[in-house]
């Protein structure tokens, strides 16, 4: 399977601070990739760089076979914090329809197909019945579904989600989890950040960060006790000498089906000796 993203010696800075040190990583095409690591470890920074919202300050980053700038229009990004001012009069339908802006540009009128895409996205996220509701009238979970619907309404080859399931009610989490699974079947690459080890284990591919990419590859190769201890610090694990408990074979609530991750064999890890 080809790589959707390839990073070689990537360095990313936020202002004067280096947020991600010299890192190598890959993200496979048409699969689910989880980025996991402690707070401030560079997870969101990496997503921002892939989406061309942050320029890399070193190394080389290829996204969908081109520079992040050239690929930006093919990337849908559901941000961690989307705070719309309470006074903004925006209905669910209009918020979802904004996902068509990259295709429509400044002035082109939405076609019947554009409207159909908006309706389909709302139906997939189970928010069609809320179409005329004001965004401020929704719960946090419903709003997150709106933002995911906005993302998939966009023409995209890659869907980035920054902690999409954090703090959601079960219904919203299950619905968004369904989208995360469904998108790769449509040929779309999904990249999400998470703090949940179970979610990461259930992904096809994992990137473990700790101010740099500790390891990148299939979950079984990346989420080892040694790598986790490196990323999170010694003493943070209960079963350091046993891999087995980290990879249960049973499915779990709003995690991912781990049965379809066996195809990924191109992962690699490297220790920066920090």
């Amino acid at each position: 399977m080809p790589d959707a993203v390839v990073g070689r010696h990537v360095v990313i800075s936020r202002g004067d601070r280096v947020a991600l040190k010299d890192s190598d990583f890959t993200i496979p095409q048409g699969a689910i990739t989880a980025i996991i690591g402690p707070n401030g470890s560079g997870k969101s920074t990496l997503l921002h760089a892939i989406a061309n919202l942050l320029p890399i300050s070193g190394g080389a980053l290829s996204v969908l076979g081109a520079t992040p700038e050239l690929s930006q229009s093919q990337i849908a990004y559901v941000l961690q914090y989307t705070t719309v001012p309470a006074g903004t009069p925006l209905t669910v339908r209009e918020a979802v329809a904004m996902g068509r802006y990259p295709t429509l540009g400044f002035l082109r009128r939405p076609s019947a197909d554009d409207k159909k895409r908006v309706q389909q996205a709302m139906e997939r996220l189970d928010i069609a019945h809320l179409a005329d509701r004001h965004l401020t009238e929704l719960s946090g979970g419903q709003r997150q579904r709106v933002y995911v619907a906005q993302g998939i309404t966009q023409d995209h080859a890659m869907l980035l989600l920054d902690e999409p399931l954090t703090g959601l009610d079960i219904n919203s989490a299950k619905t968004i989890d369904g989208i995360i699974h469904d998108e790769p079947t449509r040929g779309c690459s999904v990249v999400l950040t998470t703090h949940d080890l179970e979610e990461a284990k259930a992904a096809d591919h994992v990137i473990l960060t700790s101010g740099y990419v500790v390891a990148s590859g299939p979950p079984a190769q990346v989420l080892t006790p040694d790598n986790l201890a490196t990323a999170y610090g010694l003493g943070s694990l209960h079963a350091k000498d046993d891999d087995a408990p980290l990879f249960p074979t049973e499915h779990h609530d709003h995690g991912f089906d781990i049965s379809h991750n066996a195809h990924d064999q191109h992962g690699h890890g490297h220790d920066h000796g920090h």
């Binding site: 990004y77 941000l79 429509l104 400044f106 719960s139 419903q142």
Partner: protein, 280 residues
């Protein structure tokens, strides 16, 4: 019936109504984005920031619109300099320029013999002194401002929604923000002769804020805002005629009073429950 028609029987009264209406339309569309972007304080500072330009133009006997445009550019540039060169919050830099520019305007105009009258005219406008030539210029500016604001609907809505998303969608948020500043400047410059620099702020913020209480979409907010602003201009001039009050100030006062009336009505009306609607 005469009570309604009498205030607009004469040509200068009709010009005042038309000038106010053009100002109302311009400020409604631009003011909607000003309110949605949470830039009301900037708008307040901005309408004062053009005072030294107009004052200098009066002293030098050049076109006041040119002076206002130069002052607006200087103010935006200075705010940006303070923002980029210090860690001070944006409202501090706006506050600095707000006071500085207004004081400079008063200093410049104080050199004139007609100091008091000129300052009053700049700050509070002279609705009944609007000429036909003024109206032509104002109409052209209004058409341009409204057309550009409508053409930038998507970039400005995306920017109001989230600047990072706007960037991702190719909606050029930085350029959209810069364009909004220009639109605010144009609306202020195009309106100050009718309602004055101080009171144009009432039309920039009052009708959009009132409209936001009842509108469920941004286009409706613009339409409601325009209706409220036009009504305010008409009612303001009518009341000022019958009550012998200052025309511009009465025009600017009406939308603020309307805001509190609509606020009271909306707070008394039953609210929709935020819970998810049950569905099959």
């Amino acid at each position: 019936m005469e009570w309604f028609t009498e205030p607009f029987a004469l040509a200068f009264q009709q010009r005042a109504l038309l000038g106010g209406a053009l100002a109302a339309l311009m400020t409604s569309v631009v003011g909607t984005w000003l309110v949605l972007r949470g830039m009301s304080f900037f708008g307040d500072a901005f309408v004062h920031g053009v005072v030294p330009g107009i004052a200098a133009a009066v002293v030098l006997d050049i076109n006041p619109l040119l002076g206002a445009a130069v002052a607006a550019a200087v103010m935006v540039f200075a705010i940006e300099v303070v923002n980029r060169q210090t860690v001070l919050s944006e409202d501090t830099s706006i506050g600095l320029l707000f006071v500085g520019m207004l004081a400079l305007g008063v200093v410049i105009i104080s050199r004139l013999d007609t100091y008091s009258g000129s300052l009053t005219s700049i700050l509070f406008g002279d609705a009944l002194g609007v000429t036909t030539s003024d109206l032509y210029g104002q109409a052209i500016l209004a058409i341009i401002v409204i057309a550009v604001a409508l053409a930038l609907y998507r970039p400005l809505l995306a920017l109001s929604f989230n600047a990072e998303k706007a960037e991702l969608w190719g909606m050029k948020p930085k350029r959209a923000h810069a364009a909004l500043l220009v639109l605010i400047a144009a609306a202020v410059i195009g309106s100050y002769q009718s309602v004055g620099t101080l009171l144009v702020f009432g039309l920039l913020v009052g009708p959009p804020a009132t409209a936001s209480l009842i509108a469920r979409t941004v286009p409706r907010m613009m339409i409601y805002s325009a209706i409220i602003a036009l009504f305010s201009v008409w009612l303001g001039l009518t009341l000022s005629y019958h009550l012998s009050t200052a025309g511009s100030a009465t025009m600017a006062l009406v939308p603020i009073v309307l805001f509190f009336i609509v606020l009271a009505i909306t707070r008394l009306a039953p609210k929709r429950a935020p819970q998810e609607v049950a569905h099959a």
